[in-house]
């Protein structure tokens, strides 16, 4: 009886010691785990699913061949492509649009692409003032 009471009180004291230890550690020694966000930025991991990017080949030509597999595989159906042919009778995307407000960042589009034209970057600050701002056209997706 007495032994169990002492054990319980000891456990309570251990709890107090633990919180005090963390208090001293944070106050004197270390840095809190909080990230002071706008000043300090988080660096995403290499495989982070952020904003998409359309790639160019070494000659500066768009890699995309407008096969529309990305649009077909997209579960959220947020990719809209219009196709056209250029002077060499090659297919290309005359308009390529991703509605980022509907995108679920699953990365299937990247996996589906047969020519590796699409990539997901680490960009995660995607807030916009308007809904129209969430529609990324080809120029914005081809950015450097």
């Amino acid at each position: 009886m007495i032994g169990s009471i002492i054990k319980h009180i000891w456990a309570l004291l251990c709890g107090l010691r633990e919180t005090l230890w963390y208090f001293l550690k944070t106050t004197i020694l270390g840095k809190p785990i909080t990230l002071m966000y706008p000043e300090e930025k988080w660096t995403p991991y290499p495989r982070f699913h952020g904003l998409h990017k359309l790639l160019r080949d070494d000659n500066g030509k768009e890699k995309c061949v407008a096969c529309c597999l990305c649009a077909a595989v997209c579960p959220a159906q947020c990719i809209t492509i219009e196709t056209a042919e250029n002077e060499n009778n090659e297919k290309y995307a005359s308009s390529y649009q991703i509605d980022i407000s509907r995108c679920i960042f699953c990365g299937y589009c990247v996996e589906a692409c047969p020519v590796g034209a699409l990539l997901m970057t680490g960009e995660y600050e995607l807030a916009e003032y308007t809904r129209e701002g969430m529609l990324y056209n080809k120029e914005r997706l081809l950015r450097e």
Binding site: G15, L16, T19, L20, Y22, F23, T26, T27, P32, T34
Partner: protein, 347 residues
């Protein structure tokens, strides 16, 4: 009472009131900061240096919020409740001796607002009255959560006031007086925490319960009752409840300091026996007790916050069981023990 005494009295009241308000404001800052650091966070950082202006920002925000009076509330009681709580919390501080004497320009000012010869009873009476405010708030809001909170507050207060009252009887037996000033003077050589360790621990637990602080914050158990008795309050009325809770903490901290931690006395050094001749020396001797008192109160407040960071809330039946089956018999035992030891002159 001549004009000088009257103006000194008024000045003391105003200074203490403002100090109390500031103390409450920065207690909220301290709580958020300490809790944050204990959880490896920063706490408030944005408003002012390390969030030092945060309480002011909070105050302004609460002041400009919409003041909602619930349609089905009992209007008179609903409006009255926060004022009852706040007045009780702030008025309790009137009998706390926060320093010895201030000697300045030939005037000797005792550093307390009132030396009532039943000071302890006065504080206990007011803290009992403040539970009416909580119950009023719970009842008049016409909300099941608020009502539960109010009921819990009253039941908890009854259960914990009893052991709290009984645990200080040992101190009163040693002092032979109910006056706060007498109790402080009786601890000149030895603090009552050493003579009354059991009484101190019991009163410590009960004071946490009376402030409605974690682990005894059942009246406002947010995970069960949304916010408890003040769930329907907004704007300044909510702020008054908030103010009262923290003022109550300060009063309880000063009560523990006065009863068990020697009030404004320093250990081993008797400040009141020093009589320096220079003006600065006199001022230091006058202000040192206030600082000593403040440090002790601060330590107790830190302890309260520390408890909140550490322990989860008790279940309601555990709370009642603990109050009646553990604290109450122990408090009675403490009285008997103190009486026996005093008869044989061992204390």
């Amino acid at each position: 009472m001549d004009l000088i005494t009257l103006s000194i009295m008024l000045l003391k009241i105003i200074v203490v009131f403002i100090a109390m308000l500031l103390g409450v404001a920065y207690l909220t800052w301290l709580e958020r900061k300490v809790l944050g650091h204990m959880q490896v966070r920063y706490g408030p950082m944005r408003v002012g240096w390390h969030g030092l202006l945060q309480p002011i920002a909070d105050g302004i925000k609460l002041f400009f919020k919409e003041d909602i009076v619930v349609a089905n509330a009992n209007k008179v009681i609903y409006v009255l409740a926060p004022f009852v709580v706040t007045v009780c919390a702030f008025a309790s501080f009137a009998v706390v001796p926060f320093g010895n004497e201030l000697t300045i320009f030939g005037q000797t000012i005792p550093l307390r607002i009132a030396d009532v010869n039943i000071g302890i009873l006065y504080i206990f009476a007011l803290s009992s009255l403040s539970v009416y405010g909580l119950t009023f708030a719970g009842w008049s809001s016409n909300n099941k959560y608020a009502l539960m909170g109010g009921l819990r507050a009253s039941a908890q207060m009854i259960s914990y006031e009893l052991p709290a009252g009984l645990s200080i009887i040992g101190v009163l037996m040693l002092t032979g007086s109910l006056s706060m000033v007498e109790i402080v003077n009786a601890q000149k050589d030895l603090w009552f925490i050493i003579k009354q360790p059991l009484g101190f621990i019991l009163f410590l637990i009960c004071s946490v319960a009376e402030c409605n602080r974690t682990p005894f914050d059942l009246p406002e158990a947010e995970s069960e009752l949304v916010a408890g008795f003040h769930v329907e309050y907004s704007s300044m009325k909510f702020a008054l409840f908030f103010l009262a809770e923290y003022a109550h903490m300060i009063v309880m901290a000063s009560l523990v300091t006065t009863l068990f931690l020697g009030g404004w006395h320093l250990p081993f050094i008797d400040i009141s026996s020093l009589h320096p001749t220079t003006l600065i020396g006199q001022l230091v001797v006058s202000l040192l007790p206030i600082c000593v008192f403040g440090v002790k109160v601060f330590c107790f407040l830190f302890f309260l916050i520390w408890l909140r960071a550490t322990y989860p809330r008790l279940r309601y039946d555990q709370l009642m069981k603990f109050g009646w089956k553990v604290l109450f018999p122990l408090a009675l035992f403490n009285i008997v023990l103190t009486a026996i030891l005093q008869i044989f002159n061992l204390l």
